[in-house]
Every structure is written in C-alpha cells, then in structure tokens.
Amino acid sequence: MTLAAPANLRPVSSMSSPEPALRLHDLSKRFKVRRSLRETLLHPKDATFVHAVQHVSCEVQTGEFFGLLGPNGAGKTTLFKMLATLTSPDEGWATVHGVDVMKDPRTVRRMIAPVAADERGLHWRLSALENLRLFATLYSLRGSELEARVDEVLGVVGLRGAERRTVGTYSSGMRQRLLIARALLIRPRVLLLDEPTRSLDPVSARDFRQFLRAEVAGPAGCTVVLATHSPEEALELCDRVAVLNKGRLLAVGPARALERQYSDERYHVRTRNAGHQVFRELEARGMIERVTIGDVDVDGWTSVECHVPGGADEAAQVLAALAGAGVSVAGFDRLELSLADLIERIVRTREPGASDA
C-alpha cells in the first residue's frame, strides 16, 4: 500500500488555541438492559442498567495522538459515539475545541469525523468517487472545491486510479482507506478511529500507521483518538493512552510510562547452567524472586525468568554475580509487558476494591 502525502492538506488554523481538542468532564452513559416479557409484566417499574461509561474526565490536546485501550465492552465505542453526537450522555459534558457536543451538535459535526472499522457504512454498488461525492455534499462542500477535495483525499489514501471501481470490488484494506478518505473530506480537527487496522494485513497496517502519524496527525494538525487492541498502535503511535474498563477510566499516560509503572521488573536469562548454585544463593539473598526455569532448547540453552525487586541497578548486580560464578549467559533482558498484560494489570490494580500494587 502506498500512501502519498497530500499536496495541500493544510494545517488546522487554530493549533495554537489554548482550548484542548477534547475535554470530557464526568461523562457518563448507561443503557437499560432488555428484560424478558415475564419480568417486565411482573415488575414493570424495575429496570436494570449497564453502565457503559462512568464519570470519565480527561483532556486531549490539539494534535495529540490519543489511544483508548480496554477489553471489549470497556466503553470505547460508546465514548466515541457521544463525542460524534450520535449518542447523548446521561451525565457530565464533553466539548470539541470548546463546543459542547450536546448544545451545538451541528458545529461539532463539522469538526469531528468518526471512522468505524465497520465497512457496512459504504455504498457498495457505487464507486469510491460517488461515495466520496455524497459525503462531501452532506458536509456542505460544493462545486470545484468538492471535486478538488475528493481528488485530494483519494490521493492521500492512495486510491487515485481506483476511484471509479465499485466499492464491492475493493479489498478490505481499500475499503478501510476509503473510510479514512471520507473522514478526511471535511479536514477534521478531531478524527475518531475505532480499530482502523482490524481488517488490514500486517504490512498494510504498518503503512497505515505511518500514514496516520505522518499525514494526518502531523502536517494536518489533526487530533487523533484511536480505539485499539493493537500493541503497535498503542505503544508506537499514541502519545498517550487511556485504559478503560467497565466504563471507568483507570489510567491515562504515555504507554511506555504506564508499562514501566505496571511492569514488575521481570528478567529473562538465557543460560546453559540453569541449575547452578548461584541462582539459589541470589534467591536466598532476596536479589531474585519467583524463578521459573523453562525447557532446554535444541542448542542446550535454557530460559530462566525471574523477578528482580531492586530494579535495573540490582539486575546489573545479578548479571555480575552470574558472570562471576562462571555461569554462561547468552542473554539477559528485561521482559516487556504485552499490551494484554498491561491492561490486565491496570484493571487488576485500579479497579475499585482492588488492592494497590
């Protein structure tokens, strides 16, 4: 996939505005749980609710790449829909560049573009060109400006040349790019991306991430909020991430900082002498804990994992002790948390009722 730079994707004029791109205050949304007919008849006044978003407050700065992480049902999509004015909040408020999503939804819709991973939102029997022309008109673009903008976004997402093909003949990746092109039509100041690379192959997904960083968040100055389950997107693309669970915002910060905060200084040692006495001595002195010894590989090396409570400084002493004892060490690395582990740990430690780690 080739993603060309847009010729004149202009920077957003109010980049220097002190108002954050997004401001969420105590935002909450609950949905009524559908009950059986019997329950409804027996207890007509009772109602059960599921809390999709609970008292979420945070700010996203202009031009920031902001990730939303969390398990399925965490409330990411509901949060997106509230920002896109498609669902109204029950409590709290949210603004997009200072404009309240409830009080002035039409102005918000001119600034914010939601992109769902769902390809159903396209007219499959029409060409990409017709799809884009329709939405350009719905966004009040006219005449030569409309045609120029459509051509420009087609170029941005690398669909120029395929624009007259019906969308039904497109691959998943092409459709995904068309969805992005449609969102870019209005030069959005905030782009909401819901798992944008879900249906892309790894190479296309990588190119797509580069394109987002280089062409959307960069020169266009667009704020990007990205709901994702992809470690690459969360760790490499996002300036900051927020972890949601059961509608609650549990943590916000740079993904690497969260990873450092929630990791437990676990190290991996590749050695030929996993049964050496020095491991027991280090464990007895409290320099290493929770030692697990893996299988011996075909070359005779064994993977040993251990927790080093003293952090990097003590890890250096452990390595020196191993070398001093004549243990063959081919690798000594700090184990990085996977995204799943990070989310799991944040959820485990930050959920109400959980003990602080």
Binding site: K29, F31, K32, A52, T78, K81, A84, T85, L86, T87, S88, R106, T107, R109, R110, P114, A116, D118, R120, G121, L122, H123, R125, L126, E130, R133, L134, F135, T137, L138, Y139, S140, R142, T166
Partner: protein
C-alpha cells in the same frame, strides 16, 4: 436541499445498478394496464351509475385509482424502508453524523422512491391513453397539486412508521394497514358508495377519499377547481395533522435513539 439531491442521486445510481429490476418494473406496470382495461370495460355497465360524479367510465376510474395508489404506497412505505435499509447497511448513522439537517436527510432518503413512483404514474397514464383513456390532460397541473397533498399527507404516516423503525426496529405493519385501508376504503378501485353504510363511514376518516375524488372530478369530469375545494380543504387538514404527527414521532424517535445509542443497531 443539496444534501437531499445528493442522496436522491445516490439512490438513483444504486437502483440503476440493478438494471433488470428497473426494466421489469416499468414493463410490468405498462402491461398491467391490459387487464385493467378489460376489467374496466367488463364491469363498466354495472358500476357506471355508482361512479357518477367521479368519472364517466370505470376504466378511467381505475386508471386514476392506480395512479393515486402508486403514490400512496411510495409515500407511506419509502421512509421506513429507507431507514431500515440504512440501519442494516450502516449508512444511516453516518449520514446522521453529518451537519446536514434531519428534514433534508429524510427527503433525500425518500426522494428517489417518490420520483420513481411519479415516473411509474406517467407510464400508467401513457399506457392508459393508448388504450383509450380520455382525460382532460390540461387539468393535470391542478391534479398534480392535489396528488402532492395526498403524498404529503401519507408521508406523515410514513414518518410515523419510520419513527417506529428507529425506535423499535419494527413498524407493527402500520404501512400495510394504512396502504390497504386507504385502498379499500378510500375509493381507489371501487366507489365508496358500494360498501355498506357502516363501513362507508370509515371512508370519511381516510384522506385518500377526498384526494382521489377531487382528482377524478378534475381530470375525468372536468369540474372547476372551486367545486372540489371542500375536498381539497379537508385533505389540507389531514395533511397538516399527519405531517405534524409524523414530525413529532420522528423527533421523539431520534431523541430516544440518541439516548439509547441504538441508531445503528439492527
């Protein structure tokens, strides 16, 4: 307005991509006039006295009834169908996330169906003319205004059905009840004088009764406009009431869908 036109254009392009269905629809309609002609001619001696004041012959009566029925069906059914399709294809939520106004989106979603129904009416009238349908063609401008009022009235009913699609995903067969009820009791295929008196009273509650009677009197019997003003006036009241009820229902349904987050669920 431009938003509405853009949506109509997209509906046209989509429909045109199903070429065979398009051609068959027109051809079927043109052919339908053949049995209509023979039924009209056969039943004319029996029904001529009953249709006096609404046409000189039963064939003409049936032709104008068919025209009104095509418009009625499109007006009632187009919006709920378009909304249902939009929900199923995921396009509805997206068009509602644009700054275009809701009325222009609703007109755009249904405009093609209404224009297509109008085109089909012209085919019916053309085919009927070939079979000897005598009408006062110069009066069709006035008739078109009355038919537009019929469409607007029934579009209000369509808005109520559309609101039910948005709120509940089902219409509880509102369209069928309205279309069949109006066709049966509104004098589309037979004069309302023929039905028993107690049923005939219901005819007075149906907008089609007034619309189709006025149209037939103008186009077939060449009545002056002032002579049909009572019918047009009653139709106007229905029109205002139905559109107001439809607008209220739609506003409430959209507010509910936004509150419950169900705009895109199917």
């Amino acid at each position: 307005m431009r938003s509405a036109l853009a949506l109509i254009r997209v509906s046209l392009l989509t429909a045109a991509s199903y070429r065979l269905a398009w051609i068959m629809s027109i051809a079927g309609l043109a052919l339908q006039i053949v049995p209509t002609y023979y039924i009209g001619r056969t039943l004319d001696p029996f029904l001529a006295p009953a249709i006096k004041g609404e046409g000189s012959d039963y064939f003409g009566f049936l032709v104008m009834g068919t025209v009104a029925y095509l418009l009625l069906a499109a007006a009632v059914d187009s919006l709920p169908r378009a909304l249902e399709r939009g929900i199923n294809t995921g396009t509805l939520e997206l068009i509602f996330s644009t700054p275009s106004s809701v009325p222009s989106l609703l007109v755009g979603l249904t405009g093609y169906e209404l224009l297509w129904a109008t085109a089909r009416c012209i085919v019916v009238l053309g085919a009927a003319a070939v079979f000897g349908f005598h009408a006062h063609w110069l009066r069709f401008g006035e008739a078109a205004v009355i038919l537009a009022m019929v469409v607007a009235t029934y579009f209000g009913a369509g808005m109520i059905a559309g609101a039910m699609i948005i709120a509940y995903r089902r219409t509880a067969s509102i369209q069928t009840v309205v279309i069949v009820g109006s066709a049966m009791l509104g004098g589309v295929t037979y004069p309302t004088k023929l039905v028993p008196t107690w049923i005939g009273r219901f005819s007075d509650l149906i907008p089609m009764t007034y619309g189709i009677r006025a149209v037939r009197r103008i186009t077939i019997d060449d009545w002056p406009l002032r002579a049909v003003l009572p019918d047009v006036g009653t139709l106007s009241l229905f029109c205002i009431a139905f559109l107001a009820a439809g607008s209220l229902a739609m506003t409430h349904a959209l507010r509910r869908a936004r509150a419950e987050g169900t705009l895109s669920q199917y």
